[in-house]
Every structure is written in structure tokens, then in C-alpha cells.
Amino acid sequence: MEQIKKYNLNHLRELEAESIYVLREVAAQFENPALLFSGGKDSIILVHLSVKAFWPARIPFPLVHIDTGHNFEETIVFRDELTKKIGAQLIVGSVQESIDEGKAVEETGYNASRNLLQTTTLLDTIEKNKFDAAIGGGRRDEEKARAKERFFSHRDEFGQWDPKNQRPELWNIFNGKKNMGENFRVFPISNWTEMDVWQYIYMENIDIPDLYYTHVREVFKRDGVWLANAPFMTRKPSEKVERLRVRCRTIGDISCTGLTESMADSLEEIIQEIAATRITERGGRADDKRSDAAMEDRKKEGYF
């Protein structure tokens, strides 16, 4: 299905080559890197690219899951199967533990989400395991603050991002030098778009959680977005539960993952749907809707 023209790569192969190059730079430049795995398609692609980058050796870093405790169950099953299949080490950072230890305070109210609390747990997990680089699946097309992100994103000893003082990044030379206590976030799929990700999943036949395909689920509507009904979700009296055929366009914490009404049950259909869609994938993410600079602010504090 794929033609390589003489000495010319198609764009997916070129993006793949770039990402593999970045992943190998991480392994070479850092002592103790880790891959942030959320169970979503972008981090699944990162794992796939990592396997390709180091094969026949195993991937030289553990997977880290920052677990909000508010997951789609399918994500956890998928996570455990994948780590077993590739023989990787899994480290789980628990938001519930951060709350129990008094390091984070649970939000209350209707829009309560543990998305923000993830930052505390993430920074704690990085510190506890002495990770000097955390690989994430952020893409520049996702959000306007991310459009200015580097492949190698420097963070100070508090894990903060300083958008106005980023290191220039030239050619394919990445500067991972740092002082004690500082670390990096690395984004190997920076240049991929949502469409590239789906086409790559299709081209490489990569397994993804069933949540991405159409299924029947209890949902309710809030601010124009379908959310999954779950025991820890507080509904307003006006928010009625319905059973609909839906699928996830992104997978995050259940409290802020919008679901799309869809009948797509194959990758081809998902791709068709995305080609025709008129809303960005983060349009369904309640965590981005908090303000115009919601992502920028979270990233400054250490969110990935």
C-alpha cells in the first residue's frame, strides 16, 4: 500500500524517521529518561516508535502512567497488556496517593477534574525516580501554546516551562545539557498532526483501545459536550443520562474526555470522519476550555 519513490520518503516515513531520531537522542543524551504513557493514541504511537527505534533491544526506558484514578477501565487493561507484550517496566504515579498524602487537594463542584492535580503527581514521580527526561506525546497542532514548544523542552528545578526563554532549536541538533535538578520534557511527535497519527496507526496496523471505535455508553451533555457517566461524576439535575453510540477522539481522564457521536468501527471510517470533521480534537477537552491560556498556564507549572 505504500510506495517509496526513488530516494524519497513519503511524509509519514519522514515523520517516523524524525521521531525515531529524537527518541534515540533521548536514550543517548540522558541518564534516566521515562516515557509518559496515558493510554491514549499519541502515547501508544510513542511506544510503537520506541520499539522500532531500539529493536532488537528492548526500549531503554520505563513507561510512566500518571493515574488520576478516574480512568476508563479499558485504558488500564490495554496499558497492562501492552507493557507485558513489549517487556517494559511500568511505573504508576497515583493522584489518589498525592491527595491522601495531602500534596494535592481534590477539586469540588460540577466541573471538578483531577487533570490539574496530575501536575503535582507528575512532578513528584519525576523527582522520586530521578528522571532527567520525560518523553510525552504532545503535538504542536493540538493547541496554540504547544505550537511554540521545542522537541527538547527545558524545565527548571521546579518543573516549570518558561515560554519566553526557550532554547533555540536548530537543524536536528538537540541540546539536552542541564544543571543538577533540572530536567527535560521531550516531544518526539511534535510535527505530527491528528491526521498523521491516524494514518500511521492505519499504515502500521497498531492496536488501540476499543474506546476509539463506536460503542454504546451512558453519557450526559455538559456545555455542548458528551461526557461519560461514571460513579465519581457529579451531574446537575438538568443533565440527563442517555445511552448513545459514541467513540473517543482523545482519551484522557474520564472527567474531561468528550465523546463524539459516531458509528465508525474501523480505522478507515475513523479517518474519513476526521477528514470531514470541523472541530479540533481538543475542542472536546474540558481542561482546555477553562481560559484562553489554560494550556500555557498549566505547562508553565509543569504539566506536559
Binding site: 509519514l12 528492548r58 541540546n175
Partner: protein, 427 residues
């Protein structure tokens, strides 16, 4: 337009990638042009457009300001300027595009250089009313210095000069005279109005005298197949793969990205710096064995003989090696507010090699607006470009930047702060 043309997965899998850079300020209509390219290729989504509409109203604008689409950071929105390089993405049925969108003022030279470093093409915007200006000189000089293979000159705001051929031709001639002094290979011109949409995506009816393609057509059809160096084989070692598993007990693979030329199974190669020779045993991409590898592929190469090889070494062809040396002349763009220290020491990165270096001499500084060489001022500050001589602590395996953008580029790092302070092109 994606949704109207029938979408084909197969065609999408066979697209090429073109990276281009745009330099300019809001006044040139750069943001409008990018907005138009994104909007007309359906790369702007409804919720993004809604957000921009809301922001336009909040700012008191009467029309939707498409330039707001390209502002990322809070400070940029507040000040109405672009500070940093922003990356934008769009696709047409023929190609996928990555735009490195950079601010165009002289104080942002370092951002222009950054955006230009990975580009296959540069769009130079000229306001048809003003003609070729200092800013045009600066942008073109940077594009030529960074060896961007293709330049597309967009003569913008043709609507404001009554769409006349004379205005366009005069600018074209002036630009060509200027470009003749620079190392630019492939220059194309297109008269446009980004605001009205003339010759951006749709062919203009107002300029029947223009017989060339629209900007989008040009971007879709520039031949990028020969942008890489396919002659001089260079494979900088990134990482040595040694699986600790029984079935691959003796496996020793060298991971890297081909920086030049073509490597084939069975060919004789030489490893630098040791100088030992061997043969390519296999070229591996995951579970696939390949017959050959070329830029910009990321592969693993194994050799017939057991040679001690580590990161920073380079595999080349036996009869075609790079230059090897410690004394280099560099065109340096300075990227730090702390001026360059003559006789100062810096960390240097070149391909996958790390070393330290000493700045021995400043030969001249370039006035980026007039291209004059300044020889009596050796102080190099932020955004300045100069030819300097350096000496490295160990030999580098390099080509001139002109020959190979991968093996001819270096960065300098301040050893106290670890920040990147210089971008250099080996002369």
C-alpha cells in the same frame, strides 16, 4: 478542500512533506497569507475560528483578524506581535506542509535562522507598494546563508497597485539583481493579494498577464527530491544497540540517521576516527531488512567486522570521506544576549559529536541589511552574524555547509548556563 474532494487514504499515504519558512511582520500581510493558506485548505477548525472571532470582537476589530490564529503565547496576544517561531500544519491532497512562522524584524534574526534551518523552501513577502527593501535583503540573505534550496518571492498587495504588470516586473528585476550576489539556486515569483485571495489558492482573474501557477500550486510542485545530498555517504552514530537477550546475543548495531549519500549492503565502509574498514552486513529498520538507506532515514547498520564504535563516530564510504580537522571557519549567528567572547570557550555540538571549542578570531561581521562586511568591530552580540575561526578540542568529521546541511552545521553552548548561544555554518 478536504471535505469536498473525495478523501483517499491511499493518496494520503503517498504524500511528500515540504517544510517552508515565512518571515515577515504583520504589515507585510504575512499572518493574513498564512491564515489564507490554512483557511482555504480547510486546516482551520470551527472552534478555532470561533475563538478568533471572539478575540477579534474583544479587541474591537470590525473584521475577523486571521492573524490571531497564529499568535500562541499570552504575551504575544497582549502585544500583538510574534516573539517565537511557531509551527503550523496543513495538507492539500498533494502534499503535507509544515510552516515555520517567524517574526521578521531585525531583532528576531535568531528566530528567522532557527526557522530556516530545517526548511526546504522560503517564502519572501514583498509589499508591492514598497518594492525591495532592507527587510527583503535581510530575509533573502538569511535564506541563502542557511542554504534553503527554494525561494518563492510573493509580491503581495497587488490589489493596491491596480494589479499592474509593470509594478510586478520592476520588483522582480530588482530582486533578481540583488539575488545574483547571493547563493540562491531556485527563485520563483508570484504576484498575489493575500487579503483578496488572488493567486494564493485560486488563480486571479485580475492579472491575466501572469501565466505562472498560484502560490499553492508552486508549493505543491517544487521538486524536493534532490534537496538532500545523495552523493557523499555520511552516517553519524547516534546510539549503539546491544540487546541483552539470548536470540540476539552477538548483535551489535549502530543506530543513526543517514546524513548524506546512499548506504548499501555489501559495500565497503570506513569508520571515523579509527579509520578501520569493513563491509555493511545489514541495514535494519525494526524487523525489516533493507537493501539500502538514504537521507533522512533512521536505521540501524551492522558491520561484518567487530570494530570499537561509539556515539559521535561516523561511518563513511572508503573512498569518499569528509574533512577532518580542529580548525574551522564558521558563519556564526549569535543567539544570546550575552555577547560572544573572543578567546572564550564554549561547548560545541556537531552531528552526534560533542566537544569544546575556543573562539580564536572574528574575521568580519555582516550587516544583514546591506550585506556589507564590517572588519573593524569584533564584538558580536545578539542577532549578529559574523565569520569566525574556532579551534575544537578534538577533530570533527565535517563537510562544508554548502555541501551538506547536516554535516556542515554546529551549535555552541554556554558552559555556565547550558543554553544554546550560537548557530554556525561551516565554510
Amino acid at each position: 478542500m478536504m471535505q469536498e474532494e473525495e478523501f483517499s487514504s491511499k493518496a494520503y499515504l503517498d504524500m511528500e512533506l515540504l517544510r517552508f519558512t515565512t518571515a515577515g511582520s504583520v504589515d507585510d500581510g504575512k499572518s493574513t497569507l498564512i491564515g489564507r493558506l490554512l483557511y482555504d485548505s480547510k486546516s482551520i477548525f470551527e472552534d478555532q475560528l470561533e475563538a478568533v472571532k471572539r478575540a477579534s470582537i474583544k479587541k474591537g476589530n470590525e473584521t475577523v483578524d486571521l492573524s490571531l490564529l497564529t499568535d500562541g503565547l499570552r504575551a504575544e496576544r497582549e502585544q500583538g506581535i510574534t516573539i517565537d517561531v511557531a509551527y503550523r500544519y496543513f495538507a492539500t491532497p498533494k502534499r503535507k506542509f509544515i510552516i515555520a512562522d517567524t517574526p521578521g524584524h531585525v531583532q528576531y534574526t535568531r528566530n528567522m535562522v532557527t526557522g530556516a534551518s530545517t526548511a526546504n523552501a522560503a517564502i519572501i513577502l514583498i509589499d508591492a507598494r514598497n518594492g525591495v527593501t532592507e527587510q527583503t535583503h535581510r530575509h533573502t540573505f538569511i535564506a541563502s546563508l542557511l542554504m534553503i534550496p527554494h525561494i518563492v518571492v510573493c509580491v503581495n498587495k497587488m490589489d493596491l497597485v491596480d494589479y499592474t504588470e509593470e509594478a510586478y516586473e520592476e520588483i522582480k528585476n530588482n530582486f533578481s539583481d540583488f539575488a545574483a550576489k547571493l547563493a540562491v539556486k531556485d527563485v520563483r515569483f508570484v504576484p498575489i493579494s493575500a487579503l483578496k485571495g488572488d493567486n494564493v489558492v485560486e488563480k486571479s482573474k485580475k492579472m491575466p498577464w501572469y501565466h505562472g501557477g498560484t502560490l499553492r500550486y508552486i508549493l505543491e510542485n517544487i521538486h524536493i527530491g534532490s534537496d538532500h545530498n545523495h552523493i557523499d555517504a555520511r552516517f553519524p552514530i547516534q546510539y549503539v544497540v546491544r540487546p541483552q537477550r539470548d536470540e540476539f546475543h552477538d548483535f551489535r548495531g549502530y543506530a543513526g540517521r543517514v546524513a548524506g549519500g546512499v548506504f548499501r549492503i555489501g559495500e565497503r565502509v570506513k569508520v571515523l576516527p579509527s579509520g578501520f574498514t569493513s563491509k555493511v552486513k545489514s541495514i535494519i529498520s525494526h524487523t525489516k531488512e533493507l537493501k539500502e538507506a538514504f537521507p533522512p532515514m533512521s536505521v540501524i547498520i551492522t558491520l561484518e567486522d567487530d570494530i570499537d564504535i561509539s556515539r559521535g563516530d561516523m561511518i563513511v564510504k572508503e573512498n569518499n570521506g569528509p574533512k577532518i580537522g580542529q580548525d574551522l571557519d564558521i558563519m556564526m549567528c549569535w543567539m544570546s544576549e550575552k555577547p560572544m567572547m573572543l578567546n572564550g570557550k564554549y561547548a560545541i555540538k556537531h552531528t552526534t559529536a560533542d566537544a569544546r571549542c575556543l573562539i580564536k578570531d572574528v574575521k568580519y561581521k555582516v550587516n544583514v541589511n546591506t550585506l556589507e562586511k564590517v572588519t573593524d568591530d569584533k564584538s558580536i552580540g545578539l542577532n549578529e552574524i559574523a565569520r569566525v575561526s574556532i579551534r575544537t578540542t578534538k577533530p570533527l568529521f565535517y563537510d562544508s555547509y554548502r555541501q551538506n546541511r547536516k554535516t556542515g552545521a554546529i551549535i555552541l553552548i554556554d558552559e555556565a548556563t547550558n543554553t544554546t548561544v550560537g548557530a554556525g555554518m561551516i565554510v
